[in-house]
Every structure is written in structure tokens, then in C-alpha cells.
């Protein structure tokens, strides 16, 4: 399981990286950040890039920045492990630190990157679900210029994103969460650290005894993660209760069009969707 041969580049600046991407775009050039998804694919020869552009040495890409409005910007080489401690003192930092524990195992988290996961777009990626549910904004850059893409427009299908072959995902930006936000994150996998078979991320606020700003995101069940509008509609303005959560969970289960394979059929995945949604709701706001 040795990778196919490639030319290796280690640019020191973002411009140098995007120039390399532009130059080699026809020859299947790939960005190497954490490598925890790309390198196994190369070992299996499912991926055989002729050029590997290692951005680990590019200045400034390990930065995590917080601005005055509470926006958190995570640049391309920030590792999963960075989130094990709260990176900001509010709910967002708390949420990220709770979710990160579910990502693979400790030695993977020391290398893998959040932006790498977003660019890879594995259906079972926790960060992809977080980005979509929290409506993050992604910033791509190339030798032709830079642009921002909303998370909801980023995921285009199984392992497919809006990122163009000559673009580098430079950073992702999250808004701060209001201090009265509550959240729940639930996932089901066969073994510790495995890819999840279903994930649910729920955030909401309770104002005047009723639910406001509900977000219900489902991941791992479909090719891309997404918010489930039907479930959110049911929750908005309603009083938290087990019956409500069951209804919302059912709505989520009915809304999804699950991935299927030899081991797990659609009915099973729908069942998991229901269960994870219910549990995430109950975790966020126990009823």
C-alpha cells in the first residue's frame, strides 16, 4: 500500500501555494494539510495526485482568530486537537470542544485539520455538520482571486464541495453563539472513534418558555449534512416537551433520503436519525 509517485512542493506563502495549484491544475494537484484522509486514500491508490502541495509550512495558516464581534476564524492548518480546550469562552468554544471528542482518536486529532475535513466533505465528518448547522462561512482563494461561500452552498454531494480544483480553502468563520444558546450533539458509531452512522447537532434558545432559533442539523445519513427545515419549523415557538421532540425527530427521519449500503438500509438510518435528533434535543434542553 505505497502511494503512487508524486512531486512534492512545500510553499511558504499562500500565494506560492495557489500559484502551484494553478500551474498543476490539469495534473491532479492536491493540497496536503493533515493528511489523515488524503494519505490513506493515496495508500489505497484511490487517490493518485501527481503533485502534492504541502501547506503545513505556510506562514499564518495555524492561526485561530477571534474578533471583537465574536467571530471565530479558523485557518487551514488548525488541527482538530486545538479545539480540545475551549478556543473561545462562549458557547461556540464549548460546542466545538464537545464535538471534537467524537472525531476519530487522539493521534489523528494531532494532525487532521478542520478545514481539511471541510474540503474533504466526508458525509460522516463532524465539522461539516457543525459548519452547516451554524451557517459558517468558508473562504477560498486562488491565483484568480478570493471568494466566500456559505456552508449551505458548500456541500454539493458525496465528497464534493464548491471548491474548484485550483482553489485552496483558506479559512472558515463562525459567528459567536448567543450566551443563552443550548446545544446537543449526538452520534452513533459501531466502535469508539469510527465514522458515525448518524449524527445530530441541535442548537436553540428558550425565550419566554418557548423555543427560538432552532437549528437541527443531520450528518452521516445523507451524502451531505444539512439543516432539516421541517424539524425546525415544528420546534420554533413551541414549548419544549418529549412529545415535541418526538415529533421533530420523526420529521427529521422522514425528511432524510439516506445513504444505503450492504450493511445498513434506509429504514435503519432513518431510525438512527430519529433517535439522534431526539437525544440531541433532549441533551440541549432536557424535557
Amino acid at each position: 500500500m505505497k502511494a503512487a509517485a508524486f512531486e512534492y512542493h512545500a510553499p511558504r506563502s499562500v500565494n506560492a501555494a495557489t500559484e502551484l495549484l494553478a500551474r498543476h491544475v490539469e495534473e491532479n494537484a492536491r493540497i496536503l494539510a493533515g493528511g489523515q484522509s488524503l494519505v490513506p486514500a493515496m495508500a489505497l491508490r484511490l487517490a493518485a495526485p501527481a503533485h502534492l502541495i504541502d501547506i503545513n509550512g505556510v506562514a499564518g495558516l495555524s492561526d485561530l482568530m477571534l474578533d471583537d464581534e465574536g467571530h471565530l476564524t479558523v485557518r487551514a492548518c488548525v488541527r482538530h486537537a486545538a479545539f480540545q480546550q475551549q478556543v473561545e469562552q462562549g458557547l461556540l468554544g464549548n460546542l466545538l470542544s464537545k464535538v471534537v471528542r467524537h472525531i476519530a482518536h487522539y493521534p489523528i486529532r494531532t494532525r487532521g485539520t478542520m478545514c481539511g475535513s471541510l474540503a474533504n466533505a466526508d458525509p460522516a465528518s463532524e465539522w461539516c455538520l457543525v459548519a452547516v448547522t451554524l451557517e459558517a462561512e468558508l473562504f477560498a482563494t486562488s491565483s484568480r482571486g478570493s471568494r466566500s461561500i456559505r456552508a449551505r452552498d458548500w456541500f454539493r454531494g458525496l465528497m464534493t464541495t464548491a471548491l474548484r480544483p485550483d482553489e485552496l480553502l483558506l479559512e472558515v468563520r463562525f459567528d459567536a453563539l448567543p450566551s443563552d444558546t443550548v446545544f446537543g450533539f449526538q452520534e452513533f458509531s459501531r466502535r469508539a472513534g469510527d465514522f458515525a452512522l448518524a449524527m445530530a447537532l441541535v442548537t436553540l434558545r428558550v425565550q419566554g418558555g418557548v423555543i427560538a432559533e432552532p437549528r437541527v442539523g443531520i450528518g452521516a445519513v445523507e451524502p451531505s449534512p444539512r439543516r432539516i427545515a421541517r424539524a425546525e419549523e415544528m420546534l420554533r415557538g413551541a414549548k419544549p416537551s418529549r412529545e415535541l421532540y418526538e415529533e421533530a425527530a420523526n420529521a427529521a427521519a422522514e425528511s432524510v433520503d439516506p445513504l444505503t449500503d450492504a450493511r445498513y438500509d434506509a429504514a435503519y438510518r432513518r431510525g438512527l436519525t430519529r433517535t439522534m435528533t431526539f437525544r440531541a434535543l433532549n441533551e440541549a434542553c432536557p424535557a
Binding site: M1, A5, R191, A192, D194, D261, A262, G271, T275
Partner: protein
Amino acid sequence: MTMIGQSVQRLEDEPLLTGRGKFVANLSFPDELHMRVVRSPYAHATLLNVDLQPALALPGVVAAWTFTDVAQIPPIEFRPTKVQGLEPYRQTILANGQLRYVGEPVAVVFAETSYVAEDAADLVGIDATQLPAVLDAPTSCIEPAVLRKEYGDLDQAFAAADQTLTLDLAIGRHSGVPLECRGALAREDRASGILELYGAAKRPHANRDVIARMLGRDAASIQLFEGHIGGGFGVRGELYPEDLLVCLAAIRLGRPIKWIEDRRENLVACNQSREQSHHVTAAFDNDGRILGLQDEFFHDQGAYVRTHGARVPDMTAAMLPSVYRIPAYRAVAHFRLTNKTPAATYRAPGRFESTFVIERVLDAIARRLQLDRGEVRRRNLIASSEMPFSRPIQVLETDLVLDSGDYAGLLRKAQDAFGWEALQSELAKRRAEGETVGMGLALFLEKSGLGPTDLASTTLLETGDVELVTGAASLGQGVETVLAQICADAIGTDYRKIRVVHGMTSRIRKGFGSHASRTTVMTGGAAHKAALNLKARILGVVEGRYDLPVEVLDIRDGRVVRTDVGGELVVTLADLARDNSGNSLEAEGEFVCDRMTYPYGAHLAVVAVDRETGGVEVRRYLVAYDIGRAINPMLVTGQITGGVAQGIGGALYEEFLYDEYGQPLSGTFADYMMPTAKEVPQVEVLITEDAPSPLNPLGVKGAGEAGINAVGAAIASAIDDALGEQAFVTRLPVTPIEIKRALECKPGM
């Protein structure tokens, strides 16, 4: 102080802890070439053409072969057997005209580096016409053999029975999957004409002899060397096509040849196991006593008969009655071929399967009659007063005579240690409060000490150490330590002064390797004899030299002492060796035993089921095992705990799945799921020594397979208890989707 029964630290550990392990991938010879196998991408196809040219054109590639280059090598043998009809189904070392499983070796390339070899192999073109794949043993029409075992009057039993029940049971395909992939390194010394093969395992002498026959040279011209082995579990150390190809290439190309398998290859090419489907009927009375048992099963052998012939279904059929009387019995085993990776033995081969079947039958009887599961077993157990108990069938072509055992006693001890009665009430209470928890029980019979013979030789070295040369093989289980303990105990010295040699065909003329939990019994028996013989020789020499009668001499702590004068020193072993005028003090021992010995035990488990996700958590696990006599309890516990972990894999997680075209779906460690530390609970181990074996002087029985044998059965039993009347596990592995189906009252669990 006796060395027997002491949990001493292992002799093997230091090189393994400090990164100096001699796993075959760590060995290199100058000028070596790397071999890479080109494997069939099809499960079933007619091979039209193999294009080696693109591979040969790559710089660094030295040679490439297809079947025509190796046509004169006969197909790989299987062990001698009375079973007829298997020969036509042996595997040639490269595919001859037909491709029969994904992963089958079709061609082979030799290159300067392993990277180039892989590049080259990817360039080889395979042109073939695909054929439909046969993937189901019950419907396959290729049946090399049918095995039958029966005794008693089954018709009478069914006529006299109060009730009958029938179960359809299946075990999914899975296997040992050691962490070290296979590998081999061969070189021929042109000067001496000796072909050396490194990376040997399991049964070096036997493999040497087969290789010699297949290559048409004499066994003396081939030497096998075992270094460190990263786990065997039955699958490593059998002869595979790659082993022969490596040897042949070393001879023909005149350079050392190194082959190291990668994980993706390992999961499609290394022996698979376990896949059987059973249709079993029991006739029993209203007290739950089985009067007759009838089982017909299909064994999915995969594409070829491999080195074990039909041994696995033989063991299933022979061991199915287990520890129970079963007055009348018939088993019919259909040995069938399919277009999957060939199968062979995996730890407790045939028995993980047979224990699942018989224990499911007992649980079903218990449920039907509303009896306690322990009680229904008690009513069927062979009593210790009936030992030795002869079952009128053969297992591995030896008479099946249970040598010793107190099964009821062990069951009682196991239940007491587990707190069976109290736990039953506690779990019922928790279930009433909404938890889905349950406990399970399974008894099992093991076999060990496969003979008929073994040989060891001892030599007293000038340092006072003793070299013990055996034909055993180390798979990581602590063979050196156990044999050292036995030898040291018999001689009267410290186990650290015993240097154990194993796995080297050049050092001892006869060897039988390590498999079937034979080493402690057979090699231990031989080592014990050799050591006693050496002690006698030593004392004989001392008697002559110091003019002291042998009756007043003993060896303690490596010193020859006088027992009549309070342990006064006569001479140390080191001094004796040095002063022996160049005559080395040595002795051999041969242990003969043509019957196997039969350890036994019980597994008890508590599981918790998540009704919504179908996830199963093993909360508690206990193994009670009568080992006859434990040489090193710490090592026995280690073997059992490791076996339980693998058993949990087979019960809940591991399966080699194939799609409808025969394409493997469990091709990486992401899909073939083995338990991590979170899936295996703390295993409680109760070792008893109530029934030493009368078949060897130490009374020992083996331990390697006790931990895995009954896990499928015990976990199935616990899941049933957790889910209640609506569920009855009939298939392993029990996956979440199966749990959900059972809960939703869908048939087919």
C-alpha cells in the same frame, strides 16, 4: 520453589519492548528483490491473457511470472486425511486458466524496491471473461466431500421424545487477522545449496517437508527460520502460494527474495474462516434432557481446499455434542466451495461454530420449557464419574475420549463467581425499570495436545545455563517462558537459565510446531522428559566423579547438593559443565500421546442493548476454565482475555462481506471492524485445576483457545435475555440492524 504455577515474567519481552523484534519485515539481505503479487480482480472468471510487458518495462523490475512459468510446481498439499475427494480442488501457486476469488494470485513481479514492485504490479493487464459468482454454500454445487459422524439410535430417540425443536443457525465469515501481515524472505546459498526461508511460523518442519516435495528437492536442503511473529491465530504459518513463489524465485533468480503482504492483500488473501450454516434438530424430554441431536450443515470453504483439508467441518461435527451426553447423534457436514477467499483454521476452529450451535439448542430448550439455562445444562452434562468418557466418533482421526472433567463442578463455580442467581434478580428488576440488559451463559469443550508425538533436547552449557531445543513455534504466546518453567522445574534451576530454541528446522530433526493448543502439552511433555533425562545424566556423572550415591543427590537452584547433609553443595552446574573434559552433558526426551486432552469451561456475559440504535455493549464477561494444571497463570489469563476480545469481534463486529459479484466489501480496517479497548470489558478469569489430564505427567491441558470458543454463544444468550421473548439470536455477528429487526418483530433474526 517449584516453577510450575508461578506467574513469572516472560523471557520473550525485552527485544519486543525495545524495538528489536525480528519480524520478517525487519530482515534484509543485500541485493534482495521485492516480490509483489498481482491478484485477481474478479471472483469468478476465465483467464484469457495476462500482459506482463508494461510491468517488465518499468525501470527496476527484474522479472515477472504467470502460471506458465510455474506450471511444473504441483498444487499445494493438504494434511494427510482419510477424507476422499479433495485433491482436484487444491490451489496452484498462480492461477491456471480460471480465476476463482478476488485476491487470487495471478502473476508475480520482482523489483528492486517494494514501491516499484507495487507500481509494476498495478501495470500488469488481466484480460478475463467474468462468470457468475457462487457465493452461497447451501446452493453451491461444488461439494468435494460430505463428512458424517453418528452414533446411537436416532430414530428411537425421536420416537421416544416428548418434544422436538429445530433451529437454523449461521455464523458469519471472519478470521484471525493478526496485526502483522504475512511475509517471507528466502535466499539460496549457492555454495552450500541450502535454501533458507525466514518468517516461518506455526509448523516449520512440516512446511519445510511440503516445500521440499513441491520444489522437488530434499528436505535437508531447506531450512526454515522463525523470528518474531506478530500473531498467528491459526491463519499464519500455513503454506500459501506466496511462500512457494518466494522460494522458487530465490532459486531461479539467484537473489534473496522478500515478500511483505499489505493489509488490503491480507484481508482478501489470507485464510478466512467460520462461515457455516446449520439446520439442527433436537429431540428431548419434558425435563429438558436431550435424547437425540441431528445436525446438517454447510461449510463455506471458499474457492479452494487449503492445507487443512476438511478438518474444520470435521471438528465442528465431532465437537458439537460438547460436554453433554447426547445419547444419539448424527452430523452431516457438506464441505462446499464458493468464489470467496479460501478458508481454514482460526482459533478454536470448528468449535466457535459448534459451541454456538449446541448452546443455542440448549437455550431454546430452556426457553421452551421455561427452565433456568444453567439447570437445563446440568441435566445434560456428562458426570465426572463417567470419565474417561468415550464418544463413539473420531475427531481429527483420533478417538474422542474425554480424559477428565468435572463439568457440573465448573458450572457451579462459574455461576457462583459471577453471582448468577443474584444477578438474575437484579437484571430482571432493571429490565422492569426500562433498561435492556441481560445475561448469558455458555459451556464449552476444548481440545488440545494434538500429538502423536514431540521431541526436545537439552544440553548443559558451560555457563550453567541449559539449552532446550524444541520444534515448537512461537506465535507470541509465551512458549519460551512456559517451556523454560517446565524444564527448570524438572532440572532444579531458575527458569531464566533455560535458553529455549524454537522454530529452527536445522536445530532439531523432528518438530511439530505450535497449533491446536498443543505446545504446553506435547512440547512441554517432551521438554519435561528431556529435562528429567538431563537431570539423571547430571547426577550420574556427579555420582561417578564425586563417589556419592545418586540417592543422596538433588539439583536445587542450579547447584548439585547432598540431601543427606542438609543441602551441602557438591558442585554447581556451571563448574560441572566446564570440568566435564569436553564431553557435553545432553539428553533428549520424546513424548508420545496419540489421544488429545479435553479442557472445558464456561463463559458468562452481561450485555446492555440500546433499543433505539441496536447497539450492544458487553458490560461484564467471565471465563471459568479448567486447565488441568496452569504452568503460568498470568500467561493463561492473557490467552483467555485475548481470546474473549477476538470472540467479541466474531459475535458483534467482524464479518467478511461480499457483494453479488463476489467483490469483497470488508477490504480495509474501516470496514472489517475489530474490537478496541472500548468494546472489550475487563474480563474476569477463573482458572481451576480440578481435572488434571491423566494423559501427561504434568497434568496440563492447553489454553490458547478457551477464551474465544464460547463467546458467540454466551453473547447470543445474553442478548436473548435482554430482549426477551421476541428475540432469539440465530446468526452471528449480531449487528444493530438485526437487533432492530428483532425488536420490530420482523422474522429472520
